[in-house]
Symmetry: C2
Subunit: 223 residues, 2 copies
DNA sequence: TGATGAACTAATCGCCCGATGAGTTATATA
DNA sequence: TATATAACTCATCGGGCGATTAGTTCATCA
């Protein structure tokens, strides 16, 4: 059962030493490694997760194949399985929202009711324009329509993070419903500006969007 | 729209002789017709489109297979191809927005600036709660994150239908941008209420939503 | 230094997908 | 009635998918 080594011959072609310095014999430049552990320190695991986030963000869950992720990470597909198990569980990890998010939102909610709408819009845009948070957010919103876990995460984010942050500022009748509506406005903004890419909204600068959209959130905060 | 799919009872119960090697050919109960045109008038084409709309609305473009649509319509998969060609072109037809929509939106925009926000929200909810318009809208929004044509349709709807309707009422600086923001709010509402199913928003009654959300649209209309 | 295990690739499996083509039966036309 | 055409199924194909297995190379540590 062993000895499939006939195939292996391909790899080596010269036969002789394949030593550590092997760079010469191994791997075409930029191409794939020919098998076995790579020398030096390894950051591959993170590279795969980054690639996954980027792919999921760009095309959503269904349209993203593990092969594509693997290719983007410069790695064989089965290594993705090796590190993350199923596609589903990789997706879960890719959805993990950076800790930064609750903080930024909560900070924006601080400072009283006055102009909190503007602050929330600005904070939201900041998160979406930040390259370290954007892929996860994009993945969440883009896949929420199609994948139950992403939808659940979106709900959870809307309630846990947003509603909690707003709880001191949105008070009175139907406070929870009104928090929902604030979340609704922010998700709508992400949808149209970053996913549907509706113009001129998508190209408008932050200040302009804040100026017009802030008061709309404010209207709901104040009930 | 009701009794599509007369397939079941009638035909196979009758057991139409089906010459030839008949034998077990008489299919299982509730099973499919064994080939050849069905007797009587045919509504199959529409049944397939309805099934497609329902499936696309429920799971989006990628996750919906033609086999599933065919099954929902009580028909062989290749008949779907026969009538609609590729999956893509079937999807296009399923996206076709009922003529009713522009009318309803335009009607809501009539009547001056005062309380136009409330009227727009109400019109929007009416469309989403109407079973004849809902599947197409759901398909559009649900697939917009993942399918370029759906995204284009969403943009087009946001501009052509909404911006046009609002053009007399949203005036002044950045009128187009502000129309975008009104569309943004409505799409956000659809996302959270009908797709992410965020509670208590999803279960709130129309009047309540109109009462709280209307003023938020109004804030943007008035700039 | 030798053994254990982690990182990595190659090959392949079974499944479901969209699409096609051939064959069967009803309706429409003349 | 003869012929054409539309409606309908069945069988099948090539391909991409997620997943698994076997085997190779490197790192670590007793």
């Amino acid at each position: 059962m062993g000895a499939m080594n006939g195939i292996g011959g391909v790899r080596e072609a010269g036969g002789t030493g394949r030593g550590r310095t092997g760079a010469k014999a191994v791997a075409v430049a930029g191409g794939k490694h020919a098998g076995g552990r790579r020398p030096g320190e390894t950051r591959t695991r993170e590279a795969i997760l980054d690639a996954a986030r980027a792919c999921f963000a760009e095309r959503g869950f269904d349209a993203t194949s593990l092969r594509r992720i693997a290719e983007a990470a410069g790695v064989d597909q089965s290594l993705v399985h090796h590190f993350y198990g199923t596609k589903e569980s990789l997706f879960l990890q890719a959805l993990e929202v950076p800790l930064k998010m609750p903080e930024v939102i909560a900070a924006a909610a601080e400072g009283g009711r006055e102009e909190v709408g503007e602050r929330m819009v600005r904070a939201h845009l900041t998160l979406w324009d930040d390259l370290s948070t954007r892929p996860a957010l994009m993945t969440m919103v883009r896949s929420a329509s199609v994948h139950r876990v992403a939808a659940a995460r979106l709900r959870e984010t809307a309630t846990t993070i947003l509603a909690d942050a707003l709880s001191k500022v949105v008070t009175g009748d139907d406070a929870v419903l009104r928090s929902n509506l604030v979340a609704t406005q922010l998700v709508g903004l992400a949808m149209m500006r970053y996913i549907a890419v509706l113009e001129p909204l998508a190209s408008a600068d932050t200040d302009t969007v804040v100026r017009y959209y802030g008061p709309a959130l404010q209207a709901i905060v104040e009930g």
